[in-house]
Symmetry: C2
Subunit: 192 residues, 2 copies
């Protein structure tokens, strides 16, 4: 077997990678947001999401202090703000005000979510896993909230209405969502 | 502030969610693949990916035994096979043969990768994090390998050539990649 694949080295490459906005309160109660891509659902029961952050981020200390965070899914028309939230630190600038985004205090966890994002998750910190440069915060999803205009007749979000942003590591490209390809747990069923 | 968002309950919803094929060897040395969506990069240094699996899966035992797995990124024209790999168990069927996919033995870790997938990651098991129904396997990425025809002039994969599959939880929809939206760490920079 000849392997025609080229070796790229030990890199953090996977597709798709999400673009998510993490919402927290700092010690003074000021809401802050930062963009994270090293994240994904990590358990169904309890429903959990893992978000990995460097200790150097302002959000890191906020999560440790408050034991809570939100995960906000930006829409593709918010891509410039999502990028902005990933470049600057909440230590230096009030990013939400600068982007003219609005924070709403969660009634479930001690963190703010972003009004303008179509889908938001309210998470309580379950554990912090030290891996290396990044610490993975595992948050139990206490509730998902969504804008009415992205929901189908069953009250479930439609990804083509949410229009999330997809990040391509290394080349650092943002992409939008494309065409419907099929139904999961259905199109791969074998008749024989 | 009136919150017009609708509460959907505690659900595993986030966008985008990946569709990844996990490759392992079983005790007898038979290569197996399964599709996983609860996954994401979780550390830059060392480069790591987290993949969450239920203990009931065949792959779970294989990873525990071999301390290794691969993560293979399928292309959208492989969506039916990717779905198939997530429906059936390697206990009951030789999924790779059935799908006419080819396994290649990694020279770096004790696991097989999928020749037909445009991008593959070879991972050694770093740790297993018990969360609940799912166990998160954190794998150190030892190498990324890619097909020549998805690489740019700098040798980096282009996501619009890889054409990964995006999964929308709850509605269980598969989608493809869409339009280029902009450059990360660039389009959000403030001039003022």
């Amino acid at each position: 077997m000849i392997n025609i694949k080229r070796s790229l080295g030990a890199k953090t490459i996977i597709y798709p990678t999400p673009v998510l906005i993490v919402g927290t309160y700092d010690k003074s109660g000021k809401p802050n947001v930062m963009t994270a891509a090293w994240a994904g659902i990590c358990c169904s029961v309890p429903p959990c999401i893992g978000v990995s952050l460097r200790k150097a981020t302002y959000t890191y200390g906020n999560i440790i202090d408050r034991n809570a965070f939100t995960v906000n899914v930006p829409s593709e028309d918010q891509v410039k703000n999502a990028d902005y939230f990933g470049i600057y630190s909440g230590r230096d600038v009030d990013k939400l005000s600068h982007a003219r985004f609005t924070s709403i205090k969660s009634e479930l966890v001690d963190a703010p979510y972003v009004k303008e994002c179509p889908v938001v998750l309210e998470c309580r910190l379950l554990s912090a896993v030290e891996i290396g440069l990044h610490t993975q915060f595992i948050g139990e999803i206490m509730d998902v909230k969504a804008e009415e205009n992205v929901l189908d007749e069953d009250g479930l979000p439609m990804i083509d209405k949410v229009k999330p942003i997809i990040f391509a590591p290394e080349r650092r490209d943002y992409y939008g969502i494309g065409e419907f390809l099929g139904k999961a747990f259905a199109i791969g069923r074998k008749e024989d």
